[in-house]
Structure formats: structure tokens, C-alpha cells
Amino acid sequence: MKEQFEPNVVAFLCNWCSYAGADLAGTSRVQYQPNVNIIRVMCSGRVNPLFVINALQQGADGVLISGCHPGDCHYIEGNFYARRRFGLMKELLDYVGVDPRRFNMSWVSASEGNKWKDVVEEVVEKAKEAGPFEQFRRNKINW
């Protein structure tokens, strides 16, 4: 029997809300799937759209960007930039034929450990449905 496909999701989390929310999920011992790998950035506004393409090229099956709730950004307006950038990005990816289920944004605050779990479950589920992503894959770059 074929083994069930386990997607690999790269997530960019802002330090102040979502990363802290994911930490809280840990402190509260909330259990979720291990498919999401987190990269910490100071603000969701730091995430360059090229990071998303790059992650997909490197072999990720899904990408998640998570920041503070709109209006709660630690850096005043960084998450608004992220929202604007990745709203466009999502349409662009859709246009070039990337399943929109592979690309996700969420707002998770530092007190929302349980919401983080829900986000992970949703994102992994969607990536599973979308299946393995091969379109963009290029040979491994040697860093």
C-alpha cells in the first residue's frame, strides 16, 4: 500500500505574535502535526515574496505566512504590507497555475496557542489535498 503523502510546509512567523503563539501552543502542550517548519522573522512585513517562490522551488508543498492581527502589528504597519503583498502574490501564484491551497496567510496572536494548532491543521490538510508539488522544483542549490 502506498504510504500516505506527508506534505512539507515552510512557515514564516513574526516574532511578536505568531511565533509567540506557536511557543504558547508548546507551553500548553497542544498537539499538532510535525509537517510545518517554522522560520522566525521579526515581522511578517519582512517576508520577501521571493521567499515563497524559493520555498516552493526548494521542495516545499505549501507555504504559510503568519503575523499579528491587522492593527496589532508590533511595528505599526508591517502586517498591512504583508497582507497587501501576499494578497497579490496569491493571485499571481494562482495565475501561474499553483494550487491556491498551497499558499496561506493567517493572523495568530501571542495568546492564541490553540488557534495556531488550528492553522497548522488547516494548512497541512490543504497541502495534503493539493498533493506533492513538483512544478517549481529545481536541483538543490549548494549553499
Binding site: 517548519n37 519582512r46 515574496p49 526548494q58 492593527g71 504597519e77 501571542a110 549553499w143
Partner: protein, 675 residues
């Protein structure tokens, strides 16, 4: 200098916290084969002294120049390990952490999968560590002053502590007087100290302290800057009374055409005031204020032939021409002590607070039992329905004999969105029950409760005392309060005996809980504070940084952070004051090094970053590039907060956030996306 990376990887067991679900030995073994890794070790507690010593010795003996610690969240111990590196004379920014506890071992059960994930996280950290750069922290001076927002007991205590240490304090209070909620209380539990007797001396102290500038009837309009150097803008609202001339004699209020016709905020509807008023007799400053929403002259432009207050005021203090005034100043630290709101009992309509005059809240009862209150401490309750218009002489009043308290109104109640315990209601209920028995010795007082939480010093003893005095405690929260004849009927179930109860009483007191302030949003917007799940302001760490916030130099005190009794509030205020005094007395702070930096050789001066920066920390300057004058971006390092928005916006990758550079993040993506 030979800067070829020599990396040490340290995998922490954290007792069994990590080791239980992650095969720590396997991770360390795996890491030893990663590029540039010279040493890879596991240890039971990396953050312990021996753990840190291990790192320090390896740096010295093995010549390590990069360190990767795989343990808990960097939000927990990044500073600890940076110090470790610094102690071994390695630049502290040569540290990278892999979070294999909060985001791995604690959230996954499958040992094999968790171990694989931990390996990936460690590999990502190693690949990033190879490209880390040394950074220097910058030192900035600290303005030796503090802004305290809120003049309740928390703000008062913090102000006094800081002022007594010799630093300037600006104490901003929204209402016309300091004192806050504590000034409304009669006695305080469990010692029955008179609230005013212990509070007013402190109020007077703040009013007269040479280091404290009191800005009452004022609101903070704008805050900018950073720790050590905040720029503050405060709006002093027009009082329409000259503070220098007003003697506080009160003749104006007696003469005012609206005397006794405006519901007093201080008396929470149990008493009345005039349009020109002193909130309460011991108010500090003891200066009158005209209510611009009620004063006839200010609302209609006419008050008889001439305003009576103007005629009555001998010193001529009343000034209808007065305008709001903007005050600007600089401070080094900020303490938020904005307090709480009392739960609005009408949100529990089943208890009939809106319908019956003899259903009152605990704060209303507090004013009734207070000797300085509207009834001079006599328990006199109106009869009939609320909202019924009756002439004063026709109003029926009576002294209740059968009295019931309902506890946890608006606390521990998901239906109103408040899951938390308000922490003071059990004890103030016991106190009020005691005071009622003192005033009405033949009264029958009972308390309907869910649980009695008598956790503080002297609380349990006081609760026992009140029960010995004859207050009956009935376990079971009532479902309904309704009227039958002259009496109120409480419908409940005694949950200890499983028997239904219908209890006829004369007075129902709702022990209302504490809520975040309605205007909390304004403070959040000013200071970028976070809220915890209960909507109170969030501290930096629930245990180890209970007065700090995510913003350096901004501290929390009192109920703005969560419900508290007076001793806890005072303790926290003192904590916040001492935290603020740290930077104030050292006179300097280090500002973070992970800020943006421009490569002038490739910057083309498009100015996208200038527009993107939320802090206006970037400007375009002209520089000489091999004989050509060109425009390039320049970062003001004191203003940059290190968010990285500019880095994501830069078309040529010329502006990079240090420690979060593109070339440092891309390898992380490669590892986590690929391997």
C-alpha cells in the same frame, strides 16, 4: 582574521522535556556531520551554569566562532546564551537557536517524526549560523523622566517610588482627580482599613511632590520614540476653571443651577452633583471642573442672566474662554496603570438589574455603606421599578432586612465572554456582608456562590469570621431574580444538596467582576501593546516578566494587566517602578543591533524603503560614488526598530536587516523546504 565558520552545536535535553520525544543523541550525531560543525554535544540543561561553561570552554579550546543551541524558544533563552558567548569573548550575535522544545518536543508525540523535525530545525540553524555576522549594540542616553498613565493606586504608588528615587514623573489622569477606584471604596478587605484613610495621604503626596507633575483631566494623545527617548504629547482638557485661582471652596457648586441634578460618576449613580464639581471631597487637586457636556452655559450659550458660578466665585476663577492645551515632553520610560471597568450588570438581564431598584451592584452598595457616601453610610434603598419617575418626596425608601449577594456576576462566565476569575469579588462580598451586619444588626445576609476563593493573606480567616458572624453561604448560582409582591425572589439550586430554592429577599447585591477598560483600545494603539486571551494587557512573560511588555521601556501596573486586589496592585506598581528605574538610574540603554543597513555600492536611491519604513528612520542622502554624486538610502540607527519591512521592499536587495538578511534566510528555506 580567519573567519571560516567553526560551529559548535549544543543539543539540550531540558531534563525530559525535550529528551522524552526527541532522540537527543541522534540529533547531536546528525549535527556533527553538517558542514563547518566542529563540535556537536548534547547536555541535560544547556542553560545551567555547567551547560554554559561547556560552550565557553569549547569556544576557547576548540576555537569555535559560531554557536548553535538547540533547546527552548529563543524568546526564552536567546539573551542567556548571547551573554554566554560574550563571556567567552565571542560576538554575541554569532548565536543561532533551534527551537526544539516549544515548537517540537512539546507539540508532537511521535518520537521518530519529532526527532526528524528536530534534525531539520538544527540543520536550518547551522546553515544560517554559517552566514552570521558580528553586530555591535549601540548605546543611547536615557531621558531621566517617566510617564505614568493612570492615577489610581497603581499609578500613584509607582509615581511616588520613582519620584522618591529622584526622577521626574509625569502622572497623567483622565478624570479631574487622582485616586481611581480605590477612592470609591469604604473599607478594604480583609483588615477593614478605611480606604480613604490610607489612600488620601498618598494622593496628597503625589499632588505636592516636587518631582511629580500632575496632569489631571488630561489624556495622552501621542507617543513616539523608543526606550530612553519617548516623545509624549498630552492634551490637558479645558476645565473652564483657572487652577491657580480656584481655592476649592465649593460655593460655585452650591450655586450652580444644576446642583443635585447630575448623576455623579464617583457615586456610581447613587448620588448627584452639579455641572461644576469636585469629584469627591478629598480630590487631588482640590480644584473644581466644569462638565462641558452638562453646563448650561457651555451647551446652550446661556445660563440665566449670567452664570451663577461666575457670580459666586470670589477669586474669579471661572473662565469659559479656556481651551484645551497640548503639553509636550520627553521621558525615558512609561508605566501603564489604566485600571479596569466594573462589569455592566445589565448584561446579565436575568438578575433584573435594569428592572428593579432594589437590585444593585457591589460598587453601588460600597457607596451606600461609605460614611462619606450619599446616604452617609445608612443603607437606604429605593422601592419600585427603575426608570419610574417619582417626585423626591413621594419616593418610598426602606432599610432592607433580607439581603442576598450573588457572586461571580460577569466573572467565570463564558456567556459574557469572561472566563477569568476577577479575584476580588469573594473577599469584597465577605467585607460588604460584614459591614451590612454592622449597620443592620438584625439583617439576614446570605451569599449565593460558585466557589469561595479566599487565597490571600488573612483572607480565609476573614471568610471564617464573616460566617461566624452569621452570614450564610449557599452554594449555587441563581438562575433568575423576579418580583413577587413587595419582595424579590431569587431562584436557585443548592448544588450541595441538589434542592431547588426560591428565596424571598428585600435587596439583591450583584458582586460584579472586573473587566478591561472600554477605552483600552486607545492605549493599545498608542503603545502597540498586546492583549492576552482575557483582553487585559499582556505582560512580556506570565511568570518571569509580569510587569514588562513586548516594548522595551514600557511597563504595566495594576488591573490593566489583569484583576488584582490592592496589595497585589501596589506590589506590581512597585515592581514596575523599579523596572523603570533601571534604565533611568543607569542613564543609558543598549538599543538593538538587528537593524537595517544599506549597501551604498548597490543602492540606486529609488526611495521605496523610505516610503515603507513605519518609523521614518530612512532618508535619501547624496554621496560621492567614484566621482558621481548619487542618491542612496541612509538608516537612522536610533530610530530603526529592526522590523525588516524595508528589506522586503528593496528591489536590489541593498538594504538588509542584520541577522535577518536574505542570504541568511534563504539557506534556512533551502533546508526546511528541501531536505
Amino acid at each position: 582574521m580567519n573567519n571560516k565558520p567553526k560551529i559548535g552545536v549544543y543539543v539540550c535535553h531540558c531534563g525530559i522535556n525535550i529528551a522524552k520525544t526527541v532522540d537527543v543523541d541522534a540529533v547531536a550525531e546528525f549535527a556533527s556531520h553538517l558542514p563547518n560543525v566542529k563540535v556537536s554535544r548534547e547536555y541535560s540543561y544547556m542553560c545551567s551554569d555547567p551547560g554554559q561553561l561547556l560552550i565557553k570552554e569549547d569556544i576557547k579550546n576548540e576555537g569555535l566562532n559560531r554557536v548553535v543551541v538547540a533547546s527552548c524558544s529563543p524568546r526564552m533563552h536567546e539573551l542567556t546564551f548571547r551573554k554566554t558567548l560574550a563571556e567567552a569573548e565571542l560576538n554575541p550575535y554569532y548565536l543561532e537557536m533551534a527551537n526544539i522544545r516549544e515548537q517540537c518536543s512539546w507539540v508532537h508525540e511521535d518520537r521518530e517524526k519529532a526527532t526528524e523535525k528536530a534534525k531539520k530545525l538544527v540543520a536550518a540553524a547551522v546553515y544560517k549560523a554559517r552566514l552570521l555576522e558580528p553586530l555591535q549594540e549601540n548605546e543611547v542616553g536615557v531621558e531621566p523622566a517617566t510617564l505614568i498613565i493612570g492615577g489610581g493606586i497603581a499609578g500613584i504608588q509607582a509615581a511616588l517610588d520613582i519620584a522618591n528615587a529622584g526622577f521626574k514623573v509625569y502622572l497623567v489622569e483622565k478624570t479631574p482627580s487622582v485616586g481611581g477606584r480605590m477612592s470609591q471604596l469604604d473599607k478594604t478587605f480583609p483588615t477593614l482599613d478605611c480606604s480613604a484613610c490610607i489612600l488620601t495621604p498618598k494622593m496628597v503626596d503625589v499632588g505636592s511632590h516636587p518631582n511629580i507633575e500632575l496632569l489631571t483631566y488630561s489624556e495622552v494623545e501621542d507617543i513616539s520614540g523608543y526606550i530612553g527617548n519617548f516623545d509624549i504629547k498630552v492634551r490637558k482638557k479645558a476645565r473652564y476653571v483657572d487652577m491657580d485661582k480656584c481655592t476649592g471652596c465649593g460655593i460655585c457648586a452650591e450655586e450652580c443651577r444644576l446642583t443635585g441634578r447630575i448623576s455623579s460618576e464617583y457615586e456610581v449613580g447613587m448620588g448627584n452633583r452639579a455641572a461644576i464639581y469636585l469629584p469627591f471631597p478629598q480630590a487631588v487637586p482640590a480644584k473644581y471642573t466644569i462638565d462641558p457636556e452638562r453646563c448650561l452655559f457651555l451647551t446652550r450659550g446661556k445660563c440665566g442672566k449670567s452664570p451663577k458660578c461666575v457670580d459666586a466665585c470670589a477669586p474669579g476663577a471661572i473662565d469659559f474662554e479656556q481651551k484645551d492645551e497640548i503639553v509636550e515632553f520627553k521621558v525615558g520610560a512609561i508605566i501603564v496603570a489604566t485600571g479596569f471597568d466594573v462589569f455592566d450588570a445589565s448584561r446579565k438581564p436575568e438578575f433584573g438589574y435594569n428592572d428593579y431598584e432594589n437590585v444593585i451592584t457591589s460598587l453601588e452598595l460600597e457607596r451606600l455603606v461609605a460614611a462619606s457616601g450619599p446616604t452617609e453610610g445608612n443603607i437606604i434603598i429605593g422601592k419600585g421599578r427603575k426608570g419610574e419617575k417619582k417626585k423626591k418626596k413621594d419616593r418610598e425608601t426602606f432599610t432592607p432586612k433580607e439581603i442576598a449577594f450573588i457572586s461571580c456576576v460577569g466573572s467565570r462566565d463564558e456567556t459574557v465572554g469572561n472566563e477569568y476569575c476577577s479575584r476580588v469579588c469573594c473577599m469584597y462580598t465577605a467585607k460588604l456582608a460584614h459591614l451590612l451586619l454592622e449597620k443592620i444588626p438584625d439583617a439576614n445576609v446570605r451569599v449565593y456562590y460558585m466557589d469561595v476563593r479566599a487565597f490571600g493573606k488573612g483572607f480565609e480567616e476573614f471568610y471564617d469570621r464573616v460566617r461566624r458572624e452569621g452570614v450564610r453561604y449557599i452554594r449555587g448560582n441563581p438562575s433568575e431574580v423576579f418580583k413577587r409582591g413587595d419582595k424579590l425572589v431569587i431562584k436557585a439550586e443548592n448544588t450541595l444538596t441538589s434542592t431547588p430554592i426560591e428565596d424571598e429577599v428585600d435587596l439583591v447585591v450583584l458582586a460584579v467582576g472586573l473587566e478591561p477598560r472600554q477605552d483600552a483600545r486607545e492605549v493599545i494603539d498608542l503603545l502597540r501593546l498586546s492583549q492576552s486571551g482575557d483582553r487585559f494587557f499582556m505582560e512580556a512573560h506570565p511568570k518571569l516578566a509580569p510587569v514588562d511588555t513586548a516594548t522595551d521601556g514600557v511597563f504595566l501596573a495594576g488591573c490593566s494587566q489583569g484583576p488584582k486586589d490592592i496589595p497585589d496592585t501596589v506590589a506590581q506598581a512597585k515592581g514596575a517602578a523599579s523596572s523603570a528605574l533601571g534604565p533611568l538610574s543607569s542613564g543609558k540603554v543598549m538599543i538593538q543591533a538587528q537593524i537595517a543597513h544599506v549597501d551604498e555600492a548597490t543602492c540606486r536611491g529609488c526611495g521605496f524603503c523610505v516610503e515603507t519604513c513605519p518609523y521614518t528612520a530612512i532618508e535619501l542622502v547624496t554621496v560621492n560614488r567614484v566621482g558621481h554624486m548619487v542618491s542612496v538610502a541612509k538608516v537612522n540607527e536610533a530610530l530603526c526598530k529592526g522590523c525588516g519591512a524595508c528589506t522586503a521592499a528593496c528591489l536590489s536587495g541593498s538594504i538588509q536587516q542584520r541577522s535577518f538578511m536574505d542570504e541568511q534566510i534563504l539557506p534556512q528555506i533551502a533546508v526546511l523546504g528541501g531536505m
